[in-house]
């Protein structure tokens, strides 16, 4: 078993830990507090999450619909509106021109770092682009306040940016409905990256797209990341996308980060039973082996089970799992997991069909 673990190449590929990662999330707790006609509800959407994202990498975040990944990226982007509240923890960016603690910024400072330092690519491109205005107006509306160029200089800047992303500047004259879904999403990405942001949050950018155009949009994101040396936080529930795109991968379950490591390591050697199941149950073309779904359902975040939140569905659960929440521990180089069983003996967690 040990030999098998060692056979995974490590030191040369795991990047040397950088002095300061671009993004550090520490002990973040973000809850939804709903108070309606005397009924108080607290939904612990993000519960004690810590992670670091280095410069020049694509960090993947995977999780199901109620795993808290959306709330996590909202807090990272500083878009916290009631009823969502940050209860504890910090989100710090180390931008080239100085460090920023996102919760200590004034709304004015926050909007100053948006676009130029921190950018957001959303799922629905139609909601970003105004259907009755040409694309060029979208660029003017969103990007003009954030760049120094004006007038013809600005147009030249936009055109240069589009060309760099292999887009025809003619799209500027088009209306959103004249473009295909894939092209619209490319335009939104171009829009979000015009200021060469250091940090890009991509929230399910390809989920609404047809399979045929998905690959093109993904490679565009990869190219932008390499061109600008930015970091990308890429969120999707689609494990195949993670396998093909991301450098490191974090898995969320019921508001907690349960596993994190190099994407390849996570896929080849998952250290959390949940991840192990996710990967082994993926249907693949050419694979006829029967796959099983996971018993049970994700817990309610308003009333999560004690101990490890995965234990009611976990085939490996032991006594301690029901009592104590496992901490995130680095078991292999650069590969952390929050699982009592894996921490005692990593070999026990293995993909099960």
């Amino acid at each position: 078993m040990i030999a098998e673990l060692r056979s995974i190449p490590s030191s040369d590929v795991v990047k040397a830990p950088q002095a300061v990662p671009l993004l550090s999330v520490d002990g973040l707790k973000a809850y939804y507090k709903v108070k309606l006609f005397g009924i108080d509800r607290e939904v612990r959407a993000v519960d004690d999450v810590s992670l670091k994202i280095n410069r020049n990498e694509i960090y993947g975040l995977a999780g199901e619909s109620s795993s808290g990944k959306t709330s996590l990226i909202k807090t990272i982007a500083g878009a916290i509106r009631p009823p969502l509240r940050v209860v504890e923890g910090s989100v710090r960016f180390a931008f080239k021109d100085g460090e920023r603690d996102i919760y200590k910024l004034s709304p004015h400072e926050l909007s100053a770092i948006r676009w130029s330092h921190l950018s957001y690519i959303m799922q629905g491109s139609m909601s970003v682009l105004n259907p009755v205005r040409r694309i060029k107006h979208a660029f003017a509306d969103f990007a003009l306040p954030h760049v120094s160029a004006k007038g013809a200089d600005f147009t030249r800047l936009v055109e240069r940016h589009l060309k760099r992303l292999h887009l025809d500047p003619a799209v500027l004259q088009a209306y959103p409905h004249e473009l295909s879904g894939g092209m619209r999403q490319r335009v939104t990405i171009a829009l979000a990256t015009i200021c060469s942001p250091e940090f890009i949050i991509a929230d399910e950018p390809t989920t609404a797209l047809d399979v045929i155009v998905q690959k093109g949009v993904l490679s565009m994101i990869r190219e932008i990341q390499q061109e600008f040396g930015s970091s990308v936080l890429f969120v999707t529930h689609d494990m195949a996308v993670h396998a093909n795109l991301t450098d490191r991968l974090g898995i969320m379950y019921a508001g907690r980060l349960v596993e994190e490591g190099r994407t390849r390591d996570v896929f080849k050697r998952p250290l959390h039973p949940y991840t192990a199941h996710l990967i082994s149950s993926l249907p693949r073309i050419g694979d006829e082996a029967p796959k099983k779904g996971l018993e049970g359902s994700p817990p309610s975040l308003a009333d999560p089970p004690p101990g490890c939140r995965f234990h009611p569905r976990c085939p490996l659960a032991i006594d301690i799992c029901r009592r104590e929440a496992p901490p995130m521990v680095e078991i292999l180089p650069g590969h952390r997991t929050a699982c009592h069983v894996a921490q005692a003996d990593p070999a026990r967690v293995r993909p099960v069909a």
Partner: protein, 282 residues
């Protein structure tokens, strides 16, 4: 010889929009034909991207939309002849539907069990509420649930996977011979998806239900289908045995579609291991 379970013959659906001046014609389904045998239950998959006409086709098979031309026959009977409420109820007891979004498939303000009871009372001989409850329980057991778990509960109290299983049970109440499932797992979380997919296999193998599975996802199609057709802009571009077609597609569009599928296995095959830089950046 018994007539085929379902025959779709040269079916067209044309939507026209706009007034007299600017008339826009959308040929949503263009000359589609296929048939399902009566005595051989199978999972028949319709693969298509958005705008391929797959959902329109499903609507016509379910008799919710009339075809512009061509004929759809269920057990030899033209669906056009099914007009009266009685005939429609009779048809629905044989041909059932499962929808895409389990979170929207049940009225959020109503209890889930009402749909099961309604189906039992309308489609079967169970007139009393006790008989209907028995029938609902029976159907729920087929999907691994029981009435005790579902009774009196509201949709928001259940997960997407559970809701979709209740929806399948609801469709099973009348013991249909054909179920049309339009993207039934695209909104379901990964950990629960295979439970639902496996259920379709079980329906085919144990209860002899034929399933028309409509999807854009080639991997699950490969996993459960017996036969499939691939649609593009309303036309069937390729069809046949599922494994054969997906292993070696012939039509240029099918080839493109097959190549676009991101595979976990291929992710590292031709990458040079440099920080996980994958094969995608071509």
């Amino acid at each position: 010889m018994r007539p085929n379970l379902l025959e779709v013959e040269h079916v067209n659906k044309i939507f026209t929009r706009g007034g007299f001046v600017s008339r826009r014609v959308n040929h949503a389904v263009n000359d589609v034909s296929f048939s399902l045998a009566a005595d051989k239950p199978e999972v028949f998959t319709i693969i298509g991207e958005s705008g391929s006409g797959k959902t329109t086709l499903a609507g016509m098979i379910l008799n919710s939309l009339p075809p512009t031309s061509g004929q759809i026959r269920f057990r030899g009977k033209d669906l056009r002849e099914i007009r009266s409420r009685r005939a429609r109820l009779e048809f629905m007891s044989h041909v059932q539907a499962i929808f895409q979004n389990p979170f929207d498939a049940f009225n959020p303000l109503k209890r889930i069990d009402r749909y099961l009871f309604s189906a039992a009372q309308r489609f079967t001989e169970c007139r009393t509420s006790e008989k209907a409850a028995e029938r609902a329980d029976e159907a729920l057991h087929k999907v691994g649930l029981s009435l005790a778990e579902v009774r009196g509960r509201y949709p928001h109290e259940m997960s997407g996977g559970q809701l979709q299983r209740v929806a399948i049970a609801r469709a099973l109440v009348s013991n249909p011979s054909l179920i049309v499932a339009d993207e039934p797992v695209s909104m379901i979380d990964a950990s629960l998806r295979m439970t639902v997919i496996n259920l379709f296999k079980k329906l085919r193998d144990e209860f002899g239900v034929s399933i028309i599975y409509i999807t854009h996802d080639l991997a699950t199609a490969y996993y459960i289908s017996d036969r499939l057709i691939i649609m593009q802009k309303g036309r069937v571009v390729e069809g046949g045995d599922a494994r054969t077609v997906l292993a070696a597609p012939q039509h240029p569009y099918s080839i493109k579609l097959r190549q676009a599928v991101l595979s976990v296995d291929d992710a590292w095959r031709d990458s040079s291991f440099t920080g996980g830089m994958p094969a995608i950046a071509t």
